[in-house]
Symmetry: C2
Subunit: 265 residues, 2 copies
């Protein structure tokens, strides 16, 4: 599975200070630690970034990539900050994320094509989180269509059925599993060349749950979602027990050859 | 899910001594602990029991049930010991297990009907473990047919796709997942009134793996199998982390209402 490290987010004080003060060390350290723990991408969430967003994103991208050889998932609602980041990004970037809103699709999909990036398409419309599985499928079909029309390869699109906190919206957590299964079936429904890829923001599931439950909820949910074909997730790769589940899943489903030492790889 | 505690097995020295010396306390204690930890059934594996098997099984059944109110899964290849156990068993017993061999089916299925028990039907033929998923399905179809013919309710039959050690036969561990999915599809294939129930002997998966991997392998495999519709499993209910996965699975799939204290129930 494609693992995207979630730890560089402006919502954390360390990251916020680091970015505001243009202090490279903390975010470089976090990027390196996540890569070493097994992340294939490192998410950089710079928040709404309404002021100087372009310069800010470029600084973050250049700062991390000058020290750590890792591709980044650019995470902000400021679309011109995304493009500024792409201009200086080395390797295949990821855009996190686009909703089903047509005006956003019209701006971001051409960017995906131009810069040959990956993109997360999230089952969210201008009205918010769709209440049921069918409305999520509708939003996602619009995103897939938009990608196809402009010639973005399906393999660069990651569909997100939206994970919500089980402590607050338990039914929605189940809907997300059903959504994931349904997204995989879009291959037949839409006549796609292959099954679309899927992604989740895993730790949302344990938001608002007590600290001692978080890792257990995250890793059990991950095993369930992987069983239903999840291809990628955004989570904390420094959670050793979570990474152990990823490795053990690959062992049990015969994707990686078993060795007594498989956890150490 | 239906949880069957695996701990009373003659392969353990404490249990072996307890049974040989007709020393009630150890096995009564183990039965009680497993029930309190959440087991719905307690498996009693008395081995081949070629000598005095009938008397032995009756002693075990009466000894446990006189102290602990829990139904038992009678586990031995000695079929007259099984019947002797059923004669004195209170409540709905389970027979663990019957293979696809016709001579065994001809003896055990009438017993299931007469004593109104549950039974585990295991995808094993006289030739041993079937090498591929298709041969497992063939064996299982024969077991299902045998139950149907004699009038054993499908809901009393638990189909076991055979879990084998990942350290030795990794491909077979994957085949077991595929087998489980296929058994569920027998509803359509055989025109059954409902999906057949499934069961596994979970800890087989981690046999021959180092101690520090066992619980991780067991609980990750359990989450995968539950995701594919597993209804029951034989395992150690005293493994707290394993039981936490069972409870968390039920929370995430909306079967039990979430509360911050759900693990304590």
């Amino acid at each position: 599975m494609l693992i995207i490290g979630e730890n560089i987010s402006i919502t954390s004080k360390i990251v916020g200070d680091s970015i505001r003060n243009r202090d490279a060390e903390p975010i470089v350290k976090m990027a390196r630690a996540q890569k070493e723990a097994g992340a294939h991408y490192v998410d950089v969430n710079i928040g709404p970034a309404t002021k100087n967003g372009e310069e800010l994103m470029q600084w973050v991208v250049k700062t991390i990539q000058s020290e750590v050889d890792v591709p980044l998932a650019l995470d902000t609602k400021n679309m011109s900050a995304i493009e500024a980041g792409l201009e200086v990004h080395k390797g295949t970037a990821m855009i996190n994320s686009v909703t089903g809103d047509q005006d956003k699709l019209d701006i971001l999909m051409p960017m995906v094509k131009k810069y040959k990036t990956k993109i997360v398409g999230i089952a969210l419309s201008e009205k918010g989180v769709p209440p049921d599985v069918d409305s999520r499928i509708e939003v996602i079909m619009n995103i897939v269509n938009s990608a196809m029309e402009i010639g973005v390869p399906l393999s660069d699109l990651y569909l997100d059925p939206i994970v919500l906190p089980v402590a607050v919206l338990q039914q929605q957590v189940f809907n997300c599993i059903e959504g994931l299964k349904a997204f995989k079936q879009l291959k037949d429904l839409m006549g796609l060349p292959e099954e679309p890829k899927t992604i989740v923001g895993l730790s949302n599931v344990s938001q608002s749950s007590p600290p001692q439950l978080k890792s257990l909820l995250n890793r059990t949910y991950l095993a369930i979602l992987l069983s239903h074909g999840l291809d990628s997730a955004i989570f904390d790769p420094l959670d050793r027990e979570l990474m152990n589940v990823v490795k053990t899943f690959d062992i049990l489903t015969n994707r990686i050859l078993y060795a007594h030492s498989y956890l150490e790889k």
